[in-house]
Amino acid sequence: MFAFLANPARFMAFSAWAAPILFAGALILFAVGVPWALFYSPPDYQMGDTVRIMYVHVPAAWWSMGAYAFMAGASFVGLVWRHVLADVAARAAAPVGAVFAAVCLITGSLWGAPTWGTWWEWDGRMTSMLVLFITYLGYIALWSSIEDEERAARLAAILCLVGAINLPIVKFSVDWWSTLHQPASIMRSGGAAINGEMLGPLLTLGGAYLLLFGALTLMNMRAAIFRRRVESAELRKAHA
């Protein structure tokens, strides 16, 4: 699969239909998941209706980490096999992941206000999520401050791999420090420990976020490849 897509022309052909399909899939899952979460799932016995923020918050948290893991993988491929498409993929995923991280932070603090009585608290998980968000910003800033694309790609890949150290810290911070934030109750060894009626919409929306991530990343990649093509066409014209 990867080897097949490694050719930019084949990738463009593939993504031309893959991106819309993913996007449509995301829309369908959102159409199912949002009403399910808002109207047909039970309120929490402690938190009442505010628990519905969870359906925005938790998938955003998952896929902000997932996006980073994807970037780290792509960066590794880009560094080792010097593959242009991997560089483009890592770069394309960054803004999407950054937005997910921002959504997680914002919804988390919106949720914190009624439940914990504070917008922000410096506990391990919130802090490490903030660190992840800043790492995204640093990655994007580094990319945009170096014009030479190839060099920017390699340097950003190094940064991405170094920053990946933060991922396990975000994931396990709640287990390592006993803090305000609840520990993982879905993605943990020993199976899910959450009300089944909540699990349904949560997983649906998790799927929706994933498809959205895929669609947006593919679209970003296509835009970047188009831009390169236009630039090199202009160059060829200039030198003709």
Binding site: E147, E231, L235, H239
Partner: protein
């Protein structure tokens, strides 16, 4: 007389179908030449034509967009060459003497203080920081790297810049001695340095 060891007749440079581009711009394509022990190659070309880029590519600092550069005959690839760039590679606050000792360590050689002081006329400024050197004195110090550590291949980018007549004469002597020892010199220049080149490469599109 100086620190350079004799190089046997086994050095060679082969540049084949080399293409270089900077940014979006193609500097030149399909440049080929070869040089062997004792050769002095002069690289000519107008401002911005790509002489510096060619030398940097030969030094391994710039990746060619096409073609090949093969440098052979050094005992170890990392001991093959010296590169004297436009930028002298000096620290403003570090003294001339400290530079010599640093390079001796960095490249593996001997600081050759006395030789440098005499030959390059830096005795008077040996203890001064680079900040107060005149332009020509700084250039002489950059050239001192050539004698601090022996290397078979010298890549020189306008080595005579800012040198007075005495300085240029010394440079020519160094080049002559290096060639006699079996070394190769490639120099990018605007005006011929003095020694008659074994070949002249003209860089342009």
């Amino acid at each position: 007389m100086n620190a350079r060891g004799p190089f046997q007749d086994k050095q060679s440079i082969r540049v084949e179908a080399l293409s270089l581009s900077r940014g979006q711009r193609i500097l030149f394509e399909n440049l080929s030449f070869a040089a062997a022990s004792g050769d002095y190659v002069e690289v000519l070309g107008s401002n911005g034509s790509g002489k510096t880029s060619l030398l940097r590519a030969m030094a391994g600092l710039l990746r060619p967009s096409g073609g090949e550069i093969a440098i052979e005959g050094a005992d170890e690839p990392s001991l093959a060459l010296h590169y004297v760039a436009h930028a002298n590679g000096l620290k403003r606050e570090t003294s001339v003497r400290e530079h010599l000792h640093y390079w001796a360590g960095l490249f593996g050689g001997s600081p050759s203080e006395d030789f440098v002081a005499q030959m390059l006329d830096l005795a008077r400024v040996m203890a001064l920081p680079v900040r107060v050197l005149s332009q020509g004195q700084a250039r002489r110090l950059a050239l001192a790297r050539l004698v601090v550590a022996p290397r078979p291949i010298w890549l020189l980018d306008e080595p005579g810049a800012a040198l007075d007549d005495a300085g240029k004469a010394v440079l020519n002597e160094l080049i002559a001695a290096h060639r006699a020892n079996g070394g190769i010199v490639v120099a990018a220049v605007h005006e011929p340095l003095g020694p008659s080149p074994s070949q002249t490469i003209r860089v342009s599109r």
